[in-house]
């Protein structure tokens, strides 16, 4: 099915210095440094974008669609992520962004936050079903879903089978536009204005359904300059703001929990923090937890690596914009719950790339050899060999993609032994 896995996160080889910054931070140990530059192991990469954030040489990039790609469609709809609203300081109204996008060449701007309204309601419905194992895990952050596929396969059936807000927004936007303008849905292109590479990959390689309703993803950074100049003379029109404060609040960590409003929920941001909590969920330590919202980025989507503004500023901007209503409620009419396919129809399967071998016996043999090699290593986790830790290095040696002498400490020891042998040899020959 999948010829070549699409990944938004890529490496620009000539910029890479082969340092250990990305190597050490990758949550799925998907990076190796070989021959003086980094390499991404496609099967392991979850497109979280951590490496983009930490690379001081800007050698890690996200592939997104250029703004010019919208011209492929007769009608173009922009789908602004709620986190986009946080990028502009002193914004009077969300409608300025919507109008600004239209001035840029889009025929319509449809708030993804409206999709979030519908998704929140759909998750509320799902939480009524006691058969879904608790805690129910949010499906909103594709990097977290992929992280679970790779590192927590036993938690896959906790993931709620509701599609992401951008998917739902695209379906509604297309249908409403086609109806009101009397045009064909096939002539409409929906473009997500994305804060992160994980969403770009989720459009090209969806999880939970076969095809995305979104036609492209343009990064916030790509349109930031143009949009900020448009906003200055974009008219305010409150009637355009159709998403609720709860939907807009999805931009930041905790917003989804607030909108879904389960009895006992937890919002965790930052991928390392998410890993810690997922370990606890796996051990059944969080016994009364009803709902878990995990975001790979610090602060939630406002912390996405393709945003312009820092996540704390963006977070506070969104908070201000999402307090229009003293008693916010989801803006969803009942028809929406039945008119659109809101739920997944493809089962999310584990990604067993961490498995040492398909055969258990062989995997056990490899594990034994890994333990043996690991004991010989210094345990510095320095990364000089090109693997992120001594343990992964031992795994790489056993899997045949590294040799023991790639470890500079073992190499040094080997040289010392050889030097001694030379000395000894010299002595014996002299006598």
């Amino acid at each position: 099915m999948e010829q070549k896995r699409f990944h938004s996160v890529r490496l620009e080889g000539d910029k890479c210095r082969g340092c250990t910054n990305c190597l050490k931070r990758c949550p799925t140990e998907a990076i190796r440094v070989r021959g003086g530059r980094a390499h991404i192991i496609d099967e392991r990469c979850i497109d979280c974008g951590e490496c983009i954030r930490v690379c001081g040489y800007h050698a890690k990039v996200a592939v997104t669609d250029p703004l010019s790609s919208i011209s492929k469609f007769k009608y173009k709809i922009a789908l602004p992520a709620p986190s986009l609203y946080g990028q502009f300081n002193n914004l009077k109204s969300i409608s300025q962004i919507l109008n600004g996008l239209k001035q840029m060449g889009f025929d319509e701007a449809f708030e993804v936050a409206r999709g979030a309204d519908v998704v929140s309601r759909a998750i509320r419905e799902r939480l009524k079903n006691p058969d879904i194992p608790r805690p129910v895990i949010s499906s909103a952050c594709p990097a977290i879903v992929r992280l679970i596929q790779v590192r927590f396969p036993d938690l896959l059936d906790h993931i709620v089978d509701v599609r992401q807000p951008m998917e739902v927004a695209a379906m509604i936007a297309k249908r409403e536009f086609a109806r009101s303008r009397g045009v064909k849905e096939a002539d409409i292109g929906c473009f997500f204005i994305t804060p992160c590479p994980a969403k770009v990959t989720a459009i090209r390689r969806p999880i939970g359904h076969a095809k995305s309703a979104v036609d492209g993803a343009i990064s916030v950074l790509e349109i930031y300059g143009l949009l900020s100049s448009q906003i200055r003379n974009a008219p305010v029109d409150i009637s355009l703001e159709t998403a609720s404060d709860l939907g807009v609040g999805w931009a930041r960590s905790g917003g989804e929990c607030y909108a879904v409003n389960p009895e006992n929920s937890m919002a965790v941001d930052g991928i390392e923090n998410c890993i810690h909590v997922l370990e606890e969920i796996e051990d059944n330590r969080l016994k009364n937890l009803e709902f878990f919202e995990g975001a790979a980025c610090t602060g939630g989507c406002v912390g996405g690596p393709l945003n312009f503004e820092n996540n704390y500023v963006a977070r506070s901007n969104v908070r201000r914009l999402a307090t229009r209503d003293p008693n916010p409620d989801l803006n969803v009419d009942n028809g929406m719950m039945t008119k659109y396919p809101l739920y997944d129809d493809v089962r999310i399967l584990p990604n067993s790339v961490m498995k040492l071998d398909d055969d258990l016996m062989e995997a056990m043999r490899k594990m034994e050899r890994i333990e043996k090699i690991y004991k010989e290593l210094p345990g510095f986790d320095c990364g000089s060999c090109g693997s992120p830790t001594c343990r992964t290095f031992a795994e790489d040696v056993v899997q045949g993609v590294a040799t023991k002498m790639d470890c500079i400490h073992m190499m040094k020891e080997q040289l010392r032994v050889m030097a001694q042998q030379m000395v000894d040899l010299a002595k014996t020959t002299r006598e």
């Binding site: 396969p153 370990e279 051990d283 059944n284 498995k355 040492l356 016996m361 056990m364 594990m367 034994e368």
Partner: protein, 141 residues
């Protein structure tokens, strides 16, 4: 003769800072071996409970993981104090956890029953003044 993978982890009494580390390593090992999600789930729960028991209730001990082609086995062996009444200890809700452990959210009296529920086979042997050995196995097929 079938090969057996063995890994042992010393667990210190009262060491709350490192509590759970052995379980995390055991989970990682089993995932690398490609153990099914279903078995993994049971082992995870039982493993964490038994490790915490060593920290909270014992005077220290060892947690051992054994894997063979048929099953995963966890053995928890401590050096005391031993359980005077095993039947009572196996009762849901019964706990002798200290006030300190309770403030940390432990001591609900579900530890042993939870282990038994998750394991395919469960065995507990204890002698006061000597120690307790818990053996749990999880069938792979």
């Amino acid at each position: 003769m079938a090969i057996i993978l063995e890994k042992s982890f010393p667990v210190e009494a009262g060491a709350y800072t490192t509590a759970g580390e052995a379980s995390t390593t055991i989970k990682r090992t089993l995932k690398q071996l490609g153990i099914s999600a279903e078995v993994l789930r049971h082992v995870s729960v039982a493993c964490y409970e038994v490790e915490l028991n060593l920290v909270i209730h014992s005077l220290g001990g060892t947690l051992t993981l054994l894997v063979d082609p048929e099953k995963v086995t966890l053995i928890s062996k401590d050096v005391g104090p031993g359980i005077p009444d095993i039947e009572k200890a196996m009762t849901e809700g019964f706990s002798t956890a200290s006030a300190e452990a309770r403030t940390l959210g432990f001591g609900a009296g579900m530890g042993l029953p939870n282990m038994k529920r998750n394991a395919t086979e469960f065995d507990i042997q204890s002698e006061v003044g000597v120690g307790t050995t818990i053996t749990m196995s999880f069938a792979l097929t």
